[in-house]
């Protein structure tokens, strides 16, 4: 039996989670040129908020739980920006980057001390039976939760695209990305635009965390490795670009899965990242990235 279709679904699920994280990196970078290294830990926190809500308020339907967890994580993201990053907005680049790392370590230890260091799983709330149609017609054993995770993630990305390209706040975000200093002169509240960006990025990361906790597992330190992978995906796609972050994520997940399936699981990271370095040599700004011209 050929397993290639099944492998494609594996890659799509992993890629969807990478994309939900990568979008936050890319949006924040696009708007204030900040690489927010605490973003991987926001993703982790989203997973744990999802876990707490599912275990404490288990009677709520998933369609309420998930937006609620996303909302709470968004508030944390906004709070982090307000408390830790805003006053450093005009400080040296290095100070802010160090602060983001510090916030990340703080969040990891906060969760470790309050919830504990053990690996956990979010109780499955999505149906987990196999999709019979796929099994009969394509010979691929795919469970409904996997399909749902992929579909909901894609839907969230579509909503994001609409928000950024078809709404007033989205226009403001694009304007800030274009020229942060000119936008306030037009009467746009810069702090609000930045706060909304952090809120959206954190909410998407929380969705990723919840999916990850159901499909795989969560622990307080998972944000480090996955954060790096998502960051790399964002860079490959062209950091600052929404389409690029999504493309880069699915590409990274695809390369990882294909390497394991057809080459060697031993060399997974070596081959995957080797290929991505080659890709960056060809497109130094990422696939969809725009070269930034430095004005002298």
């Amino acid at each position: 039996m050929d397993t290639i279709i099944q492998q494609l679904f594996n890659a799509a699920q992993l890629g969807a989670v990478y994309a939900l994280i990568a979008l936050g990196y890319s949006m924040v970078y696009g708007i204030i040129r900040l690489i927010n290294f605490a973003h991987g830990d926001i993703f982790m926190l989203g997973g744990f908020i999802g876990l707490l809500l599912t275990t404490r308020l288990g009677w709520l339907p998933f369609w309420v739980l998930m937006p609620l967890a996303m909302l709470l994580t968004a508030l944390v993201g906004v709070a982090v920006e307000r408390v830790a990053y805003r006053r450093l907005r005009n400080a040296q680049r290095m100070s802010v980057v160090i602060t983001t790392l510090g916030v990340g370590i703080f969040l990891e230890n906060l969760v470790r001390l309050t919830v504990g260091p053990e690996t956990r799983q979010i109780p499955a709330r999505l149906p987990s039976g196999p999709v019979v149609w796929l099994q009969q017609h394509l010979g691929a054993f795919v469970t409904w939760d996997k399909l749902w995770i992929i579909l909901i993630s894609l839907a969230l990305m579509a909503v994001l695209w609409l928000v950024v390209n078809r709404t007033l706040i989205g226009t403001a975000m694009r304007a800030v990305a274009d020229n942060k200093d000119a936008v306030p002169l037009m009467g746009v509240n810069l702090n609000l635009v930045i706060a909304v960006t952090f809120a959206i990025g954190s909410a998407l990361a929380a969705a990723g965390g919840i999916f990850y906790g159901q499909a795989y597992s969560i622990d307080p330190y998972m944000g480090i490795d996955l954060g790096w992978k998502a960051f790399i995906a964002a860079v490959i796609g062209g950091i600052g670009s929404i389409e690029g972050a999504v493309l880069g994520s699915f590409l990274l997940a695809g390369v990882e899965v294909v390497t394991v399936a057809y080459l060697s699981s031993n060399l997974k990271n070596g081959i995957a990242f080797g290929l991505l370095i080659l890709l960056l040599l060809v497109w130094p700004w990422g696939i969809m990235g725009r070269p930034t011209l430095k004005k002298v």
Binding site: Y216, V260, A261, S265
Partner: protein, 376 residues
């Protein structure tokens, strides 16, 4: 030269040399935080039990007097680099006589050279990788080693489960997992089985679906997962979600209550080799299990039982040596014959590896049930 220095120096030197045995200090290096902190907790519990037991009786008889024992437990976080620091601290700062630890083989392999160089005897409760004691005089262990364990599982798969094809998924970055995976592959092949998949991943990976889907293509009878209890349930869950129906097998790294807490129903019908089973008929084990249960409210896992045995091995060797001296304790340890422990009888035949049997445990309704015993 200053007169005061001339007078003080000999006094200080003499004071430093004078052997004052007020308490015996024994170090413990265990992962009380980190991904397998549940094992560290078992170690901590068992050590507390040993310390209270021995001190309630006045301590260890060393020569002509009784000396109280103090265990100094340090967290090695299940990281090799932290284990090296812990061993250095215990030896140089705390001046311990001997060390119990560490737990995973990768950590023991990091700590052992330090203790070996300092001449401090070590008994590792749970490190089954052969390299831990190889070529070392001061390093012992209370458990069997992986070549034996791998053979036990391969035999079980071939004889009892009548498996013809098998696959392995293991953490290539960890000494224990890698060692036992290779032994299983070789033994299973020798017994006439066929290995149809030999896949790896890296510590902290959480997505195993690509490896498992690849294995699914060859549909093996059994899948051997020689990994730790914090990962195994997720691997099995992902395997079932991908439609794999093989019987899942494992090693002693599975043995922790977290296994069924995390895995739930998905763990039922799986088997793993272990050091002991709480169902075993052994009076020492029964007393230990009863005490442990009444104090901590849970049934001790193998890590707890082996910690208890390791600490008692050191205490007995100290009494036999008759003096609080690391070298003498090492010699007494090496001469241990017929030590009756919770996990069986321990005799060191020259090296630091005991000759011991193993048990195979089946997971049924979320409980660990004794299936069969295998002797070397």
């Amino acid at each position: 030269m200053n007169l005061r220095v001339l007078v003080l120096l000999p006094i200080l030197v003499l004071a430093g040399c004078k052997p004052k045995v007020q308490e015996l200090k024994i170090g413990v290096s265990a992962p009380t935080t980190g991904s397998i902190s549940a094992t560290g907790q078992s170690a901590k519990n068992a050590i507390a039990l040993v310390q209270d037991e021995i001190n309630a009786g006045g301590g260890v008889q060393v020569g002509d007097k009784q000396v109280k024992v103090r265990f100094i437990l340090e967290d090695d976080e299940d990281k090799p680099e932290s284990t090296a620091t812990v061993f250095q601290k215990l030896i140089n700062q705390d001046k311990v006589l001997a060390i119990v630890g560490s737990y995973t083989s990768k950590c023991s392999n990091a700590g052992a050279p330090i203790a070996e160089a300092a001449g401090i005897p070590v008994v590792s409760p749970w490190s089954t990788n052969p390299n831990v004691t190889k070529g070392r005089k001061f390093i012992f262990r209370a458990c069997f080693i992986d070549p034996f364990q791998g053979r036990v599982v391969a035999q079980f798969a071939t004889n009892k489960l009548k498996a013809k094809t098998g696959a392995v998924v293991y953490d290539v970055a960890s000494d224990y997992n890698k060692g036992i995976a290779e032994v299983f592959r070789d033994e299973f092949t020798k017994m006439g089985g066929k290995i149809v998949g030999f896949e790896t991943y890296n510590t902290k990976d959480t997505d195993f679906s690509a490896q498992l889907t690849k294995i699914k293509g060859s549909n093996p009878d059994v899948i051997f997962l020689p990994n730790y209890f914090n990962e195994v349930p997720l691997q099995i869950q992902q395997a079932r979600k991908l439609g794999l129906t093989a019987v899942m097998l494992g090693g002693d790294g599975w043995d922790n209550p977290e296994l069924v807490k995390l895995g739930g129903k998905v763990m039922d019908g799986t088997y793993f080799s272990n050091h002991y089973s709480p169902d075993i008929d052994n009076p020492i084990a029964k007393t230990f299990i009863a005490k442990y249960k009444s104090r901590f409210g849970i049934v001790p896992d193998a890590a707890a039982a082996l910690t208890y045995d390791s600490a008692n091995l050191i205490l007995r060797a100290t009494a036999t040596a008759g003096k609080a001296d690391s070298k003498a304790i090492r010699d007494a340890l090496a001469a241990t014959v017929g030590f009756q422990g919770v996990t069986g009888t321990i005799t060191y035949g020259g090296g630091g590896d005991p000759v011991k049997g193993a048990v195979v445990i089946k997971v049924e309704d979320g409980k660990f049930v004794f299936d069969s015993a295998v002797n070397p």
